[in-house]
Each structure stands twice: as structure tokens, then as C-alpha cells.
């Protein structure tokens, strides 16, 4: 029997007296894509940043299944362990690629950084691996020495994805990964993501306010409102047969537009 890769219980994050998110409990299973949806200000980013160790929680537990079989709370890991996890076993794809890339170094170095961070010291091998990953995100090999500033928004986002996947992580967090892109390039990035996620068997927690993105990528959905989960379930079920009035409103508003 397998166990969850990530397990969140009674999570709360306050900003002073204001509640960013509260009463959050859910599991993420290996290879599963979970979408967190909800209107602006509902606490999606707050939740994602807490569970990815980027923001301190106010209370609750967040356990991660390490490769060695341990299942510690992230708070019990040393800072060194946590940071190591973040650049090996995890990935984080930001909405704005500039937040997740080094804009002043080449595409090859952007992809190679994690390899160098874990001790790879052979230039030729690092470059070969970078070339391979650029190919997997459909960036031509001859762009390897170009800096991301010379790339289009879609290319930057694909580069950010490659940079995250090069260490073969098991869990990826994404905050509106296609949110900043033109509609015309969103589809390509989404297709690519879907292919990579299933090829690599990645577990993904993706924040989006776009229900079409949730439908395309995720198996399970968490609907948030005012910092709380109002409904969870299989994505198709939630979208086709929403139970909570807020979800019904959300789905209806999409159908209308």
C-alpha cells in the first residue's frame, strides 16, 4: 500500500489578525495532480507557499514522504535539509518566469544550476543534460547559450519548467503557471506540462483560478473561499456536479463567459 507524498493537517496561516488560510487538511498522493482553485484573495498562494516551505505557517502540520522513507513534518527538518529538498526532490514553478529563473545567465546555466548545486562538476555532462532538457521543453539546442531575457514569455516558462525538472523531482508546486501568458501560448505550455507530468509520474500541486487549466491537468480539486476549503473531490465530479453553492457559482460563471 502506498502512502501520501504530502500530508497537510489543520493548517493555518495568519497575517496578523487576518486569516490567510485556515482549517486546511488534505493529502497529495504520488503521481497525482491536485488543483487549488478559488477567486482572487481566497488564500491559494498563501496555502501553496506554506506547504512548499516558502512561508511560515501559524499552526498545523505538513508532512513529506522523503525518499529514504521518513515522513517528517517539514518544520522538523533542518534548514539545510529543507533547502536540499527544495532543489532536488521538489520544484516550484512561478507565475512570473523571472521569479524562478536567473535572467542574467544562459538557458544552459539555468537548467544546469541544480546539477551543480548537488555537486556535478563535469561541464560537458552538465551541458549534455541541459541540452536534453531544453529539448524536452521544446527549446532548440542552439538557444542553450542565450539568456532568458532574449526568450518569449512561453519559452521562459518552458525554461523554468526544465530548470525544475532536471533533478528528477517527485513533487512540483505551481502558482498560476500559465497565468502570465498570452492565451495563444497557454495551450502549448499546458500540453507540455501534461505530457511531462505523466511521463515523469510527478505529483503536482497547482494553483489556478482558471477552471479549464484545472480540468486539463488535475485529477483532484480543492476549492477555496475566504481562506477555507469549501469543497474537494475528483476534478471531473467537482466541475460537472459541484456540491457547494460557491463552487456552483464559480462553475456557472465560467460557463456563462
Amino acid at each position: 500500500m502506498t502512502s501520501p507524498i504530502l500530508s497537510v493537517r489543520d493548517l493555518e496561516r495568519r497575517y496578523g489578525d487576518f486569516i490567510g488560510c485556515t482549517d486546511i487538511s488534505f493529502d497529495v498522493w504520488p503521481g497525482e495532480v491536485v488543483a487549488i482553485v478559488g477567486e482572487s484573495g481566497s488564500g491559494k498562494t498563501t496555502l501553496l507557499n506554506c506547504i512548499s516551505g516558502r512561508l511560515e505557517r501559524s499552526s498545523g502540520s505538513i508532512q513529506y514522504h522523503m525518499r529514504d522513507g521518513r515522513f517528517p513534518d517539514l518544520a522538523d527538518l533542518s534548514e539545510a535539509e529543507r533547502r536540499f529538498l527544495m532543489r532536488t526532490d521538489w520544484g516550484f514553478v512561478h507565475q512570473n518566469p523571472a521569479d524562478g529563473l536567473r535572467m542574467r545567465v544562459s538557458a544552459g546555466a539555468n537548467v544546469g544550476e541544480r546539477l551543480m548545486a548537488i555537486g556535478d562538476r563535469h561541464y560537458g555532462e552538465i551541458r549534455d543534460t541541459a541540452t536534453e532538457w531544453l529539448g524536452r521543453v521544446e527549446i532548440a539546442g542552439d538557444r542553450i547559450d542565450d539568456k532568458p531575457v532574449a526568450f518569449s514569455g512561453g519559452m521562459r516558462q518552458r525554461l523554468q519548467i526544465a530548470r525544475n525538472l532536471v533533478t528528477r523531482p517527485r513533487l512540483i508546486f505551481m502558482d498560476e503557471p500559465t497565468g502570465g501568458l498570452d492565451v495563444s501560448v497557454q495551450a502549448r505550455v499546458l500540453d507540455l506540462l501534461r505530457g511531462l507530468v505523466s511521463d515523469l509520474g510527478l505529483a503536482v500541486v497547482i494553483v489556478t483560478h482558471d477552471l479549464a487549466v484545472a480540468r486539463l491537468l488535475s485529477q483532484r480539486m480543492i476549492v477555496m473561499k475566504n481562506g477555507r476549503i469549501v469543497e474537494t473531490g475528483l476534478t471531473d465530479r467537482v466541475l460537472d456536479d459541484p456540491h457547494h453553492p460557491y463552487t456552483q457559482l464559480l462553475v456557472a460563471s465560467i460557463l456563462e463567459s
Binding site: 533547502r83 544552459g108 546555466a109 544546469g112 544550476e113 551543480m116 563535469h122 561541464y123 547559450d145
Partner: protein, 297 residues
């Protein structure tokens, strides 16, 4: 006219004690950047106020001071700093590497090997080797603390990707005692191997950035590289035109306005000593000028 009253070596004793504490901490943790309360010195920051403060803190009345700038004892910067300590500390000064007990330097390590009991003080403009790719000080501090040094190799990777080889020739990053990555100040990488296992005490002072770091004698210092692009020092095709020395760092000197040039020791003391010892190069400047005149005639 009455001269202003200075404490010995300009700084007051309390400040010197504070700087010495930072130096001692630096020596205890080789390669670690120790913050210190850098003082205003009567010279601009670009002049090596960090090095000057370190020198002021360690100087005793019996010391013999040598100051070099890019290897030369006679630049304005070197002459001024030497004069500053001759006046404020009344110490003996020298241009001879072997005679000095304290050597303050900007951008070079002397060619003559340093010996036990000598102290070399480097003037450092930017002490943080990670700053190039990570401007946030809070983040670089954590990186040093957790030994996360992948970024240094990102920079070296970029060098190779752009130039086909590691093109960093100055301030080439080193790893100290297999722990801290350190910026050796803008010395040519040619000098990097001299830092490794040196019997001299090496101190680094960054005035504007308020950092001191140190390499105690016989510290293990390794220049970072890739397996397939190993660290190499600059090599010169010809010996020094003045003293015929090989295996030393040479500066290019333009000898006329028609593109004539020659390569001479950047370490002026080393070059002069060799010439006094009877060594001659092929391109002594007088001969060179005569040739030019003949050509022009």
C-alpha cells in the same frame, strides 16, 4: 604649524582591538567573512581602507612595511599608504619583499615566496564571491552557512559557455580548507597557487563592505574548476624583457606610439633584484628606443 596628534598607526587603541578581534575570528575560521565596524580613514574607499585598517591594527613599532599596488612599490596609491604609516606609526618601510614583516597589497602577491612570520594584507573591494549571481546578502549568508556553493560553478559554467574556457582571470574563487568559498581579491589567478599552504599569515580587509577574512599559515586553498576544465594559471610566451625571468606574472608595457610593446615583471622589486643580480632581458628599454630612432631615421 602644528601637526595633528595621531595615535600610533592613526587608529585609536579601542578600534584596533576591535579589528584585531575580527582578525582573530577570521584566523579561527579560515575563509569566513567576519563583519567589523569599518572606520573612516583619511583616504577614499577605492584606496584600500580595509587593508589600511587591518595593517594599522597589526602594525608594531618594529615592523617593516612594504606596500604594493599591482605589483609595484612606486604607484601613487602604494607610495601614499607607505608614507601614511611612516608618518603615523614611524615604522621602517621597504620595497624588498624579503625584508618586510608586513606587506599590504592591492592586486598581487609578490613573486618571492613569503616566509613564516610575514603577514600579507590584501585590499579587498568586494569580499562576497557569490554576489555576482546572488545580490541578496541574507541569502549569501545562508549559502555560506549551509555550504551551498553551486552558484560559483554556475558562473564558471557561463565563462566556458561564452568563451570556451574559464575566462575569469582575476578574483578567481577558491575553496578554503574544504569549507568556505572565498574571493581572493582581484589578484590574477596566476597568484592563486601562492595562497595555498603559504607559511605567511594572509589577511583580507574590505573597508566599504566592512569585512575581514583570513588564511592562517599553511591553509589549504583550492581554486574551483570543472573536471573537464581544470584550473590553470596564465602562461606567458616570453620571459620578462628586462630581467629574463620566466614563471612570473608579466605586464604589457607599450614602448612607443607605433604599437611597440614589451612584457615585464609586474613585481617591480622582483625585477630590480634580478637585474641587480646580473640578469638581463632582451628588450631593455634604452636599446628598444634606439632601435625605434634608427627605424624612424
Amino acid at each position: 604649524m602644528t601637526l595633528p596628534e595621531y595615535n600610533f598607526a592613526y587608529l585609536d587603541e579601542q578600534t584596533k582591538r576591535m579589528i584585531r578581534r575580527a582578525i582573530l575570528k577570521g584566523i579561527a575560521i579560515p575563509g569566513y567573512q567576519v563583519p567589523f565596524a569599518s572606520r573612516e580613514m583619511p583616504m577614499p574607499y577605492g584606496w584600500g581602507t580595509g587593508g589600511v585598517q587591518v595593517t594599522a591594527a597589526i602594525l608594531g613599532p618594529d615592523d617593516v612595511l612594504k606596500v604594493i599596488d599591482q605589483g609595484a612599490d612606486d604607484t601613487t596609491n602604494a607610495v601614499s599608504i607607505r608614507a601614511f604609516f611612516a608618518k603615523t606609526a614611524n615604522v621602517a618601510t621597504t620595497t624588498k619583499t624579503a625584508d618586510a614583516t608586513v606587506i599590504q597589497t592591492r592586486h598581487r602577491i609578490p613573486e618571492a615566496p613569503l616566509s613564516a612570520g610575514q603577514v600579507i594584507v590584501y585590499q579587498v573591494p568586494i569580499p562576497e564571491p557569490l554576489r555576482f549571481l546572488e545580490p541578496r546578502e541574507t541569502e549569501t549568508r545562508v549559502m555560506h552557512g549551509l555550504e551551498e556553493y553551486g552558484l560559483i560553478h554556475v558562473k564558471l559554467y557561463e565563462d566556458i559557455a561564452q568563451h570556451g574556457h574559464i575566462a575569469t582571470t582575476y578574483a578567481y574563487p577558491v575553496k578554503v580548507e574544504d569549507r568556505y568559498v572565498m574571493d581572493p581579491s582581484p589578484i590574477p589567478k596566476f597568484d592563486n597557487p601562492k595562497m595555498n599552504g603559504s607559511p605567511a599569515l594572509q589577511l583580507f580587509g574590505a573597508g566599504r563592505e566592512k569585512r575581514i577574512y583570513a588564511l592562517p599559515p599553511f591553509t589549504h586553498v583550492v581554486s574551483l574548476d570543472f573536471e573537464d576544465h581544470p584550473f590553470q594559471v596564465q602562461k606567458f610566451k616570453q620571459p620578462c624583457a628586462l630581467c629574463n625571468a620566466t614563471g612570473v606574472y608579466l605586464d604589457e608595457v607599450v614602448t612607443d606610439d607605433r604599437g611597440g610593446r614589451m612584457y615585464v615583471c609586474s613585481d617591480t622589486d622582483h625585477c630590480e633584484t634580478r637585474r641587480q643580480d646580473g640578469h638581463h632581458g632582451t628588450g631593455l628599454p634604452i636599446a628598444g628606443q634606439e632601435t625605434v630612432k634608427e627605424d624612424a631615421a
